[in-house]
């Protein structure tokens, strides 16, 4: 049988022995390329498989819609105090207008549900802006530091170490005694003290990537510095940054809550969820649970959702890089 086969086999080119009997559609020498998926699609699919992370996205979307679109459909009075309406329990009828409020009213007679929606707007806005400011400052700073020579890098990072050692909550509280009137002010305040971690992360990524072979390869081809930075370094470092953004949003919302509880956050009527919890211990002592638990629940839900999304993103992007 062997002789038979040997007659039928013909050598073909430099690629070694070639099958002449099997199907005419030749496998390319390098072997078939398995279609896995493009990079981003793979990450998205990985993310989508992570049910918990998708849940997080769902929660966030819900709250954004709830807080920003809610008031358009659910009109409430949030500016005129109505002492006679004050402190109504959910479902309790108002003595003035015979209405019932799904989540009751607070001490000024404002509808609690409406307050939660507005409070959420502020919280989400601050969370988003603060994270944005941090990322912008942090990535630029980190990239510059990572690409610079050792001396400049050392000085820049030393500065980061110093500011990072100042306890965030304390310095923010102190400065908030003066600078906390508007959403923008608070966002800037948070942003100015939160960019340190993204800066460190970015610098770390840049330092690692600098040594990678594909960067060396580009240099060997004659690539200039700016091309290296824009086409190779930044796109690859982005994934780390993206993950960090979600955690920054969560942290900023929490920080705003802390400020609010202590009484140094935003004031009426732009009060955020944290501010609404400022009197929580009193409310609880008076048994006014509806002024505490719903708000708290929303706060925890949003922060948790951000963390879930962040974790999911981290896992999804990791898979892509780690594959094979």
């Amino acid at each position: 049988m062997t002789e038979d086969l040997e007659n039928r086999v013909k050598p073909l080119g430099a690629t070694g022995l070639q099958v002449a009997l099997s199907d005419p559609e030749l496998m390319p020498e390098g072997g078939d390329v398995q279609a896995i998926a493009s990079g981003w699609r793979l990450a998205v699919r990985e993310f989508a498989n992570n049910k918990v992370a998708v849940l997080g996205v769902g929660i966030l979307v819900f709250f954004v819609l709830f807080c920003f679109l809610g008031p358009l459909f659910y009109h409430t009075n949030q500016s005129l105090t109505q002492p006679l309406n004050a402190n109504l329990q959910p479902g309790q009828t108002s003595p003035i207008n015979g209405q019932t409020y799904p989540l009751g009213t607070d001490e000024h007679g404002f509808d609690e549900l409406g307050r939660i929606m507005l409070g959420g707007q502020t919280a989400l806005e601050v969370g988003f802006f603060a994270a944005l400011i941090s990322i912008v400052i942090g990535t630029l700073y980190g990239a510059v530091s990572g690409l610079s020579g050792r001396l400049i890098d050392g000085v820049m990072m030393r500065f980061v170490d110093i500011v990072y050692s100042i306890p965030f909550l304390f310095i923010v509280l102190v400065l908030a005694t003066k600078f906390s009137a508007t959403v923008l002010e608070i966002s800037l305040l948070f942003g100015f003290f939160s960019w340190l971690v993204p800066a460190r992360l970015m610098r770390g990524e840049v330092l690692t990537l600098r040594e990678r072979d594909f960067v060396s390869a580009a240099r060997v081809m004659g690539s200039g510095r700016s091309r290296l930075v824009y086409r190779h370094l930044i796109p690859n470092a982005l994934s780390v940054v993206i993950v960090n953004v979600t955690f920054l949003v969560a942290d900023s919302i929490l920080a705003l809550a802390y400020l609010g509880f202590l009484g140094f956050g935003l004031q009426y009527p732009t009060a955020s969820w944290g501010d609404m919890l400022g009197n929580a211990d009193n409310y609880i002592s008076n048994g006014q649970w509806w002024l505490v638990y719903p708000v708290g629940f929303c706060l925890v839900a949003v922060v948790m959702a951000c963390n879930l999304v962040g974790d999911g993103l981290r896992d999804a992007l990791d898979v892509r890089l780690r594959r094979r």
Binding site: L21, M27, V33, I36
Partner: protein
């Protein structure tokens, strides 16, 4: 299937192991038979992913999460291991059957002293006191030839070099004088000279202790001198088992034949190609019906694709699993032209194409508590001179740390020499600046060792291949497209590869892309830094053949 008469120290019959992943089940090991007698070594040879490591772990019962032995039996000295409850297996592990792993760096606990780690199995299995175990540890360290063993007892793993750490691992495995030793790629991470030492050590110990050894490796050279018998594994199955002599000189299975033919030899005829095997090994989550080697086999018939051949043979000492076995080594086709090609002859000029004279590169070593002073320098390259002519291939060989990578970087200009002259076609390229330098870079390109790191993971293949042309401003978009397609074809990759990202390719395929990229600028010189060491043996020959063909 042991030879009649002697009781095998280790007998594996029809062993099958599956690993359940979230979306698929990998059939890692299938219907494996093997047997080792006391005092003998069985070499288990195969490429990455063929299941040889899983086999070893199956024997010990240490499969990863999701792994299960679904069929078969493993007998240690006649005692059945499959199905044994874990506490019973624990008594045997490290005691009667031990395992050595490939990476000694990560296999030793970095925060425990060496003495403690070697003593641990002794304390566990023999109930020895601290002192007794320590004495035994010292004994074993001496046995494995560790210099200054008394000092080492109190040192930590990172204080030792790779070769010494591997000896420590062997000591750990032998502390309780096991009957069977499973050595999983024990020398792969080591330099050639150290490899030889470790293998000699294993030989010696085997004789002295009468152990049965399973030597798992992908390197045929390792088993050539050391194993009495060899089993060849492919895609989870044993395809051939025979004495070492027979496997090398009178093999029957086509895979064995191709595997041995793909290894370059010194006395090889330069004009012959290395035998290579088309394609890639099968995905074990979805293995082909019938013979698993059929899709890549030159002799496959319909019967091969339909039915899986059993492991048989007229001579019980030589078994193989093939419907159409071959007879001994193959004759490789003559494909390369004798002497230099006309293109190369035309390119030859007076003087050498690449000339290096007394190149020097040093790195400072700093020390000092507060102020970092330069106390010494690491002389990576000290006065190296060599030259390469057009059409010529110069091999630069050396062990790790000898400076060859640094020299490669000096040649392509990733680093600058501290002294000496590096000239391409008579001109010192790296003394030039700006546009002149960039233009000159076209002639010097590089292929890197690690196929996973040399391609930007965020760029599609098309962009990767286009990049050199874009940087050098060569050609219109249409011309670039044409050239990309041409080179892609020459390196043997399908056109749909253009739209894909690097992580969708195997290691060998990525090296092809890297090679294509290096060739885009039609350089006069290519520096290839260990381009195939990260690849499997049969893939290596593919890439090497390709490089040789394209050099002309």
């Amino acid at each position: 299937m042991a030879a009649d008469g002697k009781a095998g120290a280790l007998e594996v019959t029809n062993l099958s192991t599956h690993i359940e992943l979230s979306r698929s089940t990998v059939q890692a090991v299938g219907n494996v038979d093997l047997a080792i007698e006391p005092g003998k070594t069985l070499g288990l040879v195969g490429e990455s992913g063929c299941g040889k490591s899983m086999l070893g772990l199956s024997i010990l019962g240490l499969l990863p999460a999701g792994g299960k032995i679904i069929d078969g039996s493993v007998k240690l000295d006649g005692r059945e291991l499959v199905g044994l409850p874990d506490p019973e297996l624990q008594k045997l592990r490290g005691n009667e059957v031990s395992m050595i792993f490939q990476d000694s760096q990560s296999s030793l606990n970095p925060t425990k002293k060496i003495g403690e780690q070697v003593a641990e199995p002794v304390r566990l299995h023999r109930g020895a006191s601290r002192k007794e175990a320590r004495d035994r540890a010292l004994e074993v360290l001496e046995l494995v030839g560790l210099p200054r063993p008394k000092e080492r007892l109190d040192q930590y793993p990172h204080h030792l070099s790779g070769g010494l750490r591997q000896r420590v691992m062997i000591a750990v495995a032998l502390a309780c004088e096991p009957k069977v030793l499973l050595a999983d790629e024990p020398t792969t991470a080591l330099d050639v000279t150290i490899q030889a030492q470790i293998l000699a050590l294993l030989d010696d110990l085997e004789d002295r202790l009468g152990m049965a050894t399973l030597l798992v490796t992908h390197d045929m050279g390792v088993v050539a001198g050391r194993a009495h018998r060899i089993s060849v594994m492919y895609a989870g199955r044993i395809v051939e088992t025979a004495s070492t002599q027979d496997v090398f000189g009178a093999m029957r299975h086509p895979y064995t034949q191709a595997l041995l033919g793909s290894i370059p030899r010194l006395d090889q005829d330069n004009t012959k190609a290395l035998i290579s095997i088309r394609g890639l090994p099968p995905d074990l989550a979805d293995p082909p019906a019938g013979c698993r080697f059929a899709p890549r086999c030159a002799f496959a018939t319909d019967k091969c694709r339909a039915e899986e051949p059993p492991l048989t043979g007229r001579d019980p000492e030589h078994l193989f699993a093939c419907w159409h076995p071959v007879d001994g080594p193959a004759e490789a086709p003559k494909v390369f032209v004798q002497g230099t090609s006309p293109a190369a002859a035309a390119a030859r000029t007076d003087g050498h194409l690449l000339e290096i004279v007394d190149a020097v590169r040093e790195y400072p070593v700093t020390a000092g508590a507060v102020l970092q002073r330069k106390v010494n320098s690491v002389k990576a390259v000290s006065g190296v001179s060599l030259h390469v002519d057009a059409g010529e291939a110069l091999g630069l060989v050396g062990e790790s740390g000898c400076g060859k990578t640094t020299l490669g970087k000096l040649i392509v200009g990733v680093e600058k020499p501290d002294a000496g002259r590096i000239a391409l076609a008579g001109r010192e390229v790296f003394r030039m600046r700006g546009r002149g330098l960039r233009r000159a870079r076209r002639d010097l390109q590089m292929m890197f060792q690690d196929p996973y790191a040399s391609l930007d993971p965020r760029m599609r293949v098309q962009t990767i291949l286009r990049e050199p042309l874009v940087i050098q401003n060569m050609g219109s978009r249409k011309e670039q497209d044409a050239k990309i397609r041409q080179l892609l074809d020459e390196v043997g990759l399908p056109e749909n590869a253009l739209e894909r990202y690097p992580h969708e390719f195997s290691g060998g395929q990525r090296q092809r892309i890297a090679l294509a990229r290096a060739l885009m600028l039609e350089p006069k010189v290519i520096v290839a830094d260990e381009p195939v060491s990260a690849l499997d043996v049969s893939i290596r020959s593919q890439v090497l053949n390709l490089m040789k063909r394209l050099q002309a």
